[in-house]
Amino acid sequence: MLKILQVIGIFDKLKKKEESIRYYKRILKEHKEAEADALINLGVLSLEEENFDEALKYLKQALRVYGELEDEEGEAFVSDYIGDVFLNMRRMDEALDYYKDAYRIYSSIRSSAKNEMFEKIKEAEKIMEAFEVAEKKRKEEFPPQVPVEEDYVPDYEKLSEKLQDVLKILESASAYEGYFKEENPIEYFREAFVISREIGDKKGEATLLLMMGTVSLKNENLSKAFKNFKDAYDIFQSSQDKKGEAVSLLFVGTLFFIQGDMGKVSATFRKSVETFQQLKDKYSESVAIDLLNALYSG
């Protein structure tokens, strides 16, 4: 039987088929490798353009192609790049996941690239730690809403009047004091606010935000008041107006008090008083302490 098959040349045919299959598989592999290369290049170019979503799209496709090729080194290589994209996006957890995948693969295939990957992970962890510290600090200064103390019922009218007294620390506020007496003060403040923005009067802009926030507080709109006070703080800070910064912290601190977050009250008032001390502004310092006493004495 074997002899007959040899005679009719069936083995030759089979041999040719196997070769053909090997040939086409090789071609397919080469095409897939070329596809992966092209996808990586597109991903890197998108990363350079800071088009992160696009970069992720291409690199994840490349990762899938290497998976199909069972090319572990390629997978590690692409995972490293994906980690870089997430690092640029400040999505540290995901960046670290991909770096660790790359490290695991490099270790399993005993690639020398594993040492480099290890260093990269350490570096990313340091960056992540720095971000966490910065975020914690930011939250300490301006934390999100916290629950109101059960037994504290704020007298918004009285608090608003007290803050109007605090505003007198700012020279720029005196011109607008009269607006508080108007039937709809917010309209007046808003008109002045628009003008201050138009002419780039940063001090005026921030002062008017504090005033608008004070009206919002009186109307028990705490989230609006908080936003106004925080925006005022940011403007004073960016214009390096230390006194304005310290004054706006008193407003922010008052809101923390209403929200019952005593830790933040202490932090903001302390920072404000320290700034007044640095400025050798005894009067403003006494106003800050007076406000704090008024808050605690109800």
Partner: protein, 236 residues
Amino acid sequence: MLPVIGSGIPGFDKLVSNEKTGIGGIPENTSTLIYGPPKTGKSIFCYQFMYHGLSNEEPCLYIMTDYGIKQFQQKIADYGWDLGSSIENQMFYIIDALSSVSGTEVVETATCVSSSVHNPTDIMVKLGVGTRFMSGMSPRFRSVIDSLTTLLAFNEDMLVVRVLTAFIMRIKEAGGTAVITYTEGSADTKIETMLKASVDNIIRLDGEQLVVEAMVGCGKRNAPYIITDKGIIIKE
């Protein structure tokens, strides 16, 4: 033909008159910068511009930053002019931006308000109220800022440039004609150039010569002038 309004300065309108028509004055609905060294008559130019308008039933919105209302009234009285009826008829709107700084109390009325050179936003808020008042009274009115120099002393230079731009825009929109003074050398040359670029007409006073450096519908002109007890007079 370009509409013009009388400057109130004897000889000035003729100096800038159209050669064909012989009509001259400050082009209506434009802004004019009067600049030069100190004590050369810039404020006096403004007084005459303001007083001439009031005498012709044209209301005036006056922003004073170099002196308060009391000092201003004294200066006007020195020239023998009487603003009593214009104030009574609410033809004269004053924004006093200096008295509050010097500690002098301003008795506020419907047409006399206090502001502060420290607070350009407030000046602009009051300017908004003032221009609405003026345009409600007359489709044509005059306005003066005397001077930018004090604003520059109390505020960031670029802020003053933006205030000037906003001032001119508001006055023109309301149909007014503006005159602004500035003491030469009180800001750096870059800012000075920006101030000049913000206005339509530029006049320089040096104590002897009045030079029209730029004016809508009129080439460069110049003439000697003197300051008398009746104000500035352009010599023939």
